[in-house]
């Protein structure tokens, strides 16, 4: 029998993140294929009610200590290390999210287990696990084999279906018996999302601008187009970092998760961290000067061309229609 699989459930303020269920579904599939048991670990106070929702695991482990709430990566890695030893776990699944970033590397440094991050595909094969890691901004995939199915995998959000990890059952829940050493890094407080003038998660039409928009003045042009469409403007990270739009308009890994009816992506390359926040859009139309931009791999409609030329042409037509 293969060594047990251990997944680290991710919670933010008492809510399990989607990635927890994405990993649970994946973990179940791999565990069944390898003939290994699957354990889920929930860190932080009030873990029991969360653990009860992880029914696809053969058992859920809790470590109810307030110092594990939003714990820094070194502290999470230390808790995981103890559980790996106790359970004799082989494969460890961690979310490749901002919340858990750093945990895999530190755990790997402390245990000597290999760490493969940004995993998009995983298959069990003859007592081993083959992982596919996304590299170079999503433009390249790399296959890696974990012999003996031992190692740490950082699972990319959105790569595996969350529904496969949901279940009405409750797993047996046990205390993991983790000894928490006080972290050197102290979590002080949450900073709530900035509530801007517009809530882009509620807009039906989004005009999204990326680095290809080039100047702040051109953002104004996109605002005009959004107005003509009855929607709002949002942006990728470089535009927000330039200060051309407020943080409340950022879409992606660190920003908002949006699901509008129309997402018009203008001058956005489609990096995984941006894609993560807009992949649920009903219709994605992308305009990019680079015919090979990754955004065209996921968008429904694509236009190879200059967004700066496209924006006024479309705005004029929409205005003319309205009369």
């Amino acid at each position: 029998m293969a060594k047990p699989i251990l997944m680290l459930a991710e919670q933010v303020r008492g809510q399990l993140s989607d990635i927890s269920f994405e990993m649970l579904g994946l973990g179940r599939r791999l565990a069944d294929a390898l003939g290994a048991p699957l354990s889920a670990l929930v860190l932080g106070s009030e873990g029991a009610p969360l653990a009860a929702r992880l029914g696809l695991a053969d058992k859920a482990l809790t470590a109810e200590d307030p110092r594990l709430n939003m714990a820094p990566p070194g502290t999470m890695a230390d808790a995981l290390r103890q559980v790996i030893e106790k359970e004799q776990a082989g494969l460890v699944l961690i979310g490749a999210t901002n919340v858990c970033m750093g945990v895999g590397s530190i755990l790997s440094a402390r245990t000597g287990l290999p760490f493969v991050n940004n995993v998009r595909q995983a298959q069990a094969e003859e007592g081993a696990v083959r992982l596919t890691s996304q590299m170079y901004g999503g433009k390249i995939l790399a296959d890696v084999r974990l012999g003996g199915a031992c190692g740490i995998a950082g699972i990319y959000p959105g790569a595996f279906p969350a529904d496969a990890g949901r279940s009405d059952k409750a797993p047996p829940v046990e205390a993991a018996g983790v000894t928490v050493t006080a972290p050197k890094e102290t979590f002080e407080r949450y900073i709530e999302p900035e509530t801007g003038d517009v809530d882009i998660t509620k807009e039906k039409v989004l005009v999204a601008v990326g680095r290809g928009i080039q100047t702040q003045d051109n953002v104004g042009m996109a605002e005009e187009l959004a107005a003509a469409l009855g929607g709002a403007v949002c942006a990728s990270r470089p535009v927000i970092d330039q200060g051309w739009l407020p943080l409340s308009r950022q879409v992606g890994k660190s920003g908002m998760n949006v699901k509008p009816r129309l997402y018009l992506a203008l001058g956005i390359s489609g990096a995984p961290e941006h894609w993560e926040g807009m992949q649920g859009s009903q219709c994605i139309i992308a305009v990019n000067t680079d015919a090979k931009a990754p955004i065209f791999d996921g968008a429904h409609y694509g236009i190879v061309g200059d967004a700066l030329e496209f924006i006024p042409l479309l705005t004029d037509r929409l205005k003319a229609r309205r009369g």
Binding site: G74, G102, A109, S133, L141, L229, G302
Partner: protein
């Protein structure tokens, strides 16, 4: 403050990427490298901190082709010292690179000065781990925070803001010395005219330090590298720009968006 910024050129992903003859790595001959956003933000944050709190900024990088350019650019932006680590560095991946950098940082004695802050990017795109910062913090035995967007040192500690998701952020306090993975600087990275970089090339000197041989933990290797097959490639709308705009209007009206 004693601020270090660790820099590295990143492959330019806007350029074409090709798989090399071994099928396990990229074709190095056609790879183009450029300074990456997170590194520019790390330099900007360091220079802003120096302007506010005083001290020195040292930028350091492992030797790779064209790395001098980013070091001189950082000097032109306000860094005080630039160091290039030379040696048989191989293709140092996250953990190996972290060990080399830790060796350099500890060269002045095992304990870093108590007002030391080490800044680097949060993530890299060109290896399996994609994270040098946590390995470095571990090698130095220092506290670490990643995805940092604000840095405020005060009295032997540093207060940082970290991004979680959905716009939610968190505030953490770390005792100094500390390692920070920078996501965005407080302000957009400053622009330096090329003339200023050229002036830095004339007046400043890049120190070289022998880093020794790379100790590659090589825990797992890439078996195969390939380009993803587009699962559902977009339907391309073609024609002259006016025609394309007409077709988009038609499409939007057909889908009752307008």
């Amino acid at each position: 403050m004693n601020i270090f910024v660790l820099l590295r050129l990143a492959p330019d992903t806007v350029e074409e990427l090709e798989i090399g003859g071994d099928g396990k790595s990229l074709d190095a001959d056609i790879l183009r490298f450029k300074p990456n956003d997170p590194d520019e933000h790390a330099v900007e944050e360091a220079v802003l901190l120096k302007e506010k709190h005083g001290g020195t900024v040292t930028v350091a990088a492992l030797e790779t082709p064209e790395v001098d350019d980013i070091l001189y650019t950082a000097l032109a932006k306000g860094a005080d010292r630039a160091v290039k680590l030379t040696g048989d560095l191989g293709a140092a991946q996250s953990e190996a690179a972290a060990r080399l950098l830790a060796g350099f940082l500890k060269a002045g004695g095992p304990a870093l000065a108590p007002d030391t802050l080490i800044l680097l990017r949060s993530q890299s795109i060109d290896d399996l781990e994609g994270e040098v910062g946590p390995y470095l913090a571990e090698a130095l035995g220092l506290p670490y925070a990643c995805v940092v967007t604000q840095v405020a040192p005060a009295g032997g500690a540093v207060k940082v803001t970290r991004e979680f998701s959905g716009g939610l952020r968190g505030e953490f306090t770390l005792p100094l010395p500390a390692v920070l993975g920078i996501q965005s600087a407080e302000k957009p990275p400053r622009y330096v005219p090329i003339a200023k970089v050229r002036a830095a090339m004339k007046t400043a000197r890049i120190e070289t330090v022998d880093a020794g041989a790379v100790e590659q933990p090589a825990r797992v290797g890439v078996e195969r590298m390939y380009k993803p097959e587009a699962a559902g490639r977009a339907v391309m709308i073609e024609g002259a720009p006016e025609e394309v705009a007409d077709k988009v209007v038609e499409l939007l009206s057909k889908n009752s968006v307008i």
